[in-house]
């Protein structure tokens, strides 16, 4: 074996220009650990507290019927649903921030969430008994529509961040107004509408998981595959095209993925805000702006944020609960102010 010409590990460390890889590894390790701990706490605590032994027994066997029911039918699906929602929204946010080159981009701010929510409200008002897969499907239709509108506004990326944000605010307000109009004239949706509008995981179960997974898992995979192209796109359209990226087609694909991911999250949890805004920034602090790392790390942080928010939402005024979206907003809104003040 010939001696390697380059010191391989050192070269790899330098590869992404990553300053302090150990620090990054520590933070990521901590995030994974925290997610694991929070997950287990989520399975233990709620309106009823279970011991770790009961949780394990509930997860793995039918021996303790009560633990089985609480863990397997209520908390575990809700936990998984929450992680999917968080990952989907955070990845959607990171893709949008990349593709629009706008640090304020987020599926909620750009109106995709509201578009999906409108579609969901429409089918529920038309047929209150619509199965969950029907809700998920119409959400995806709405999300793709919202993303499509955004695509034509942001065509060729020549739109300034300010104009894009304004367009997003307009779209968001428009779809949001339609949702409220629909809800206030509907007679089926009144009492669940708060959880829907603020975003929450109350009553979230395997049915929601089954309906959303066919969109979220492929969506996340495609997002990871597109992240390299997003890196090129971040350098500007001409540079990206020069590097061999079909810019318009890539942008369309990325926005479509954002639409699908956001919509699937909305079908589970309603209009959860700020996850898509905050998590990509947190990820950027940790791993820099290489989207091949940024996108998956955003997914991790999204899952973490929603899991934490939902745990708090369930515990604060148990046995009642507060919509989880209120806590993501409570974290997200101050963060947005911070961005405005210090990061321009």
């Amino acid at each position: 074996m010939a001696a390697p010409q380059f010191a391989e590990p050192a070269a790899l460390v330098r590869r992404g220009g990553m300053r302090g890889r150990p620090r990054r590894a520590v933070i990521l390790g901590l995030a994974v650990l925290t997610l694991g701990v929070l997950s287990f706490l989520s399975l233990m605590y709620g309106a009823v507290h279970l011991s770790p032994g009961e949780v394990l027994s509930g997860l793995t066997s039918d021996s303790d019927l009560f633990a089985r029911n609480v863990v397997w039918k209520i908390r575990y699906p809700r936990l998984i649903d929450g992680m999917l929602v968080g990952a989907a929204l955070a990845v959607s946010g990171s893709l949008l921030q990349g593709v629009t080159r706008n640090p304020l981009a987020d599926p909620t701010i750009l109106g995709i969430t509201a578009a999906a929510g409108l579609a969901s409200a429409v089918v529920i008002v038309i047929d209150p008994q619509v199965p969950q897969w029907g809700i998920a499907m119409s959400c995806v239709g709405g999300g793709l529509f919202g993303a499509g509108v955004l695509f034509f506004i942001a065509w060729r990326g020549a739109v300034s961040p300010v104009r894009l944000a304004l367009a997003g605010v307009a779209l968001s307000a428009f779809f949001g107004a339609l949702i409220v109009a629909l809800l206030s004239s509907s007679r089926t949706f009144l009492q669940t509408s708060l959880g829907f509008l603020a975003g929450g995981l109350y009553g979230s179960e395997w049915r929601d998981f089954d309906a959303a997974v066919p969109y979220i898992v492929p969506g996340l995979l495609v997002a990871f595959l597109l992240s390299g192209r997003l890196n090129a796109l971040a350098l500007g359209d001409d540079v990206a095209a020069g590097l061999g990226v079909l810019t318009d087609r890539t942008r369309l694909a990325i926005l479509a993925v954002c639409g699908v991911l956001t919509a699937a999250a909305v079908s589970i949890a309603g209009l959860v805000g700020f996850v898509g805004l905050v998590c990509p920034h947190l990820a950027r602090f940790t791993v820099g702006s290489d989207n091949r790392y940024l996108v998956p790390v955003s997914a991790l942080y999204g899952a973490l944020l929603v899991t934490a928010a939902d745990l708090v939402a369930r515990l604060v005024i148990a046995p009642s609960e507060i919509p989880m979206g209120i806590f993501t907003a409570a974290v997200g809104a101050p963060f947005l102010l911070y961005l405005v003040k210090f990061r321009g």
Binding site: Q5, F6, A11, L12, R14, R15, G16, G17, R19, R101, L225, G228, R229, N231, A232, A234, L235, G236, D238, V239, A241, G242, L243, G244, V245, L246, G288, S289, D290
Partner: protein, 275 residues
């Protein structure tokens, strides 16, 4: 690698910007494209780099129509540096350079030995090592321009196209960039640069192509083509051409006033070396 342009017409929304241009750029040439603002020289460069779809005509990279190649394949042979790339301010120079490896990397592929070697070479060639770990946003104009060149070099192109690589740079940095391009050219790279500065074009290019109203006005080695009347036709301003006392190369300048004839008389005044 040879770049051939055949009857190329380019335009935006019905406006014809480049009109039936045909050129052959031989492998290893260093070509400057000059012309007034709005003459279509940048559009021509974009057309050569397949960034703009031709209305008619075609561009051949080697023997192949550039449109028949996959865009990633083109990116492995030809790199283009736009005039003022907007993105990437938060990237370090090294990160930026690595992004030039995009056309060589598979979707899930990790960095390979050739990738690492190419990036090292590009950073050395563009002379960015001393500030490799600094973010782009913190660099001076000249350093930033070199960083972008490093990105293009990491593609390991056979043909390098640049749109005004020296604009907004001070004299020292202009010279530095041109020396760098000359060096790359000596190593065999075909270099085509749109240049604003006629002096730089005369000093550093093997061949100057002047564009006016989307058409080639003149085309040839600077010694032959830089003569006042031709330049006047291109730039619509009275011109004179001095001679560089060191190299004998022409130095085109806008004339202070008066007729072309007086300027031609002025020419020998600068010829200290002329016997």
């Amino acid at each position: 690698m040879k770049l051939t342009i055949e009857h190329l017409c380019l335009g935006y929304a019905g406006r014809h910007v480049v009109k039936d241009v045909s050129l052959e750029i031989e492998a290893g040439q260093m070509v400057a494209i000059v012309g007034p603002n709005g003459s279509g020289k940048s559009t021509l460069l974009r057309g050569m780099a397949r960034l703009q779809k031709p209305e008619s005509g075609r561009v051949l990279l080697g023997e192949t129509d550039i449109r028949s190649l996959r865009t990633r394949e083109v990116a492995r042979l030809l790199a283009i540096l736009p005039q003022s790339p907007e993105g990437g301010a938060d990237l370090t120079v090294r990160e930026l350079t690595w992004r030039g490896r995009y056309p060589h990397q598979g979707i899930l592929q990790r960095a390979t030995r050739p990738d690492i070697e190419a990036v090292e070479w590009a950073m050395n060639a563009a002379n960015v090592r001393s500030f490799a770990e600094r973010p782009l946003g913190s660099l001076s104009g000249g350093e930033r321009r070199r960083a972008w060149i490093a990105l293009a070099l990491a593609q390991q192109p056979k043909v390098l196209l640049l749109d005004e690589p020296t604009s907004f740079l001070d004299l020292a940095h202009q010279v530095e960039i041109m020396m760098l391009l000359r060096e790359l050219n000596r190593e065999g790279m075909t270099v085509v640069a749109v240049l604003h500065d006629l002096f730089l074009a005369a000093r550093h290019a093997d061949r100057v192509i002047a564009i006016r109203d989307g058409q080639v006005e003149f085309d040839g080695p600077p010694r032959e083509v830089f003569e006042p009347r031709a330049l006047e036709r291109v730039f619509r301003v009275p011109m004179m051409v001095l001679q560089d006392p060191e190299t004998g190369l022409p130095i085109p300048l806008p004339s202070a006033g008066g007729s072309t004839a007086t300027r031609q008389e002025a020419l020998p005044l600068a010829h200290h070396n002329t016997p």
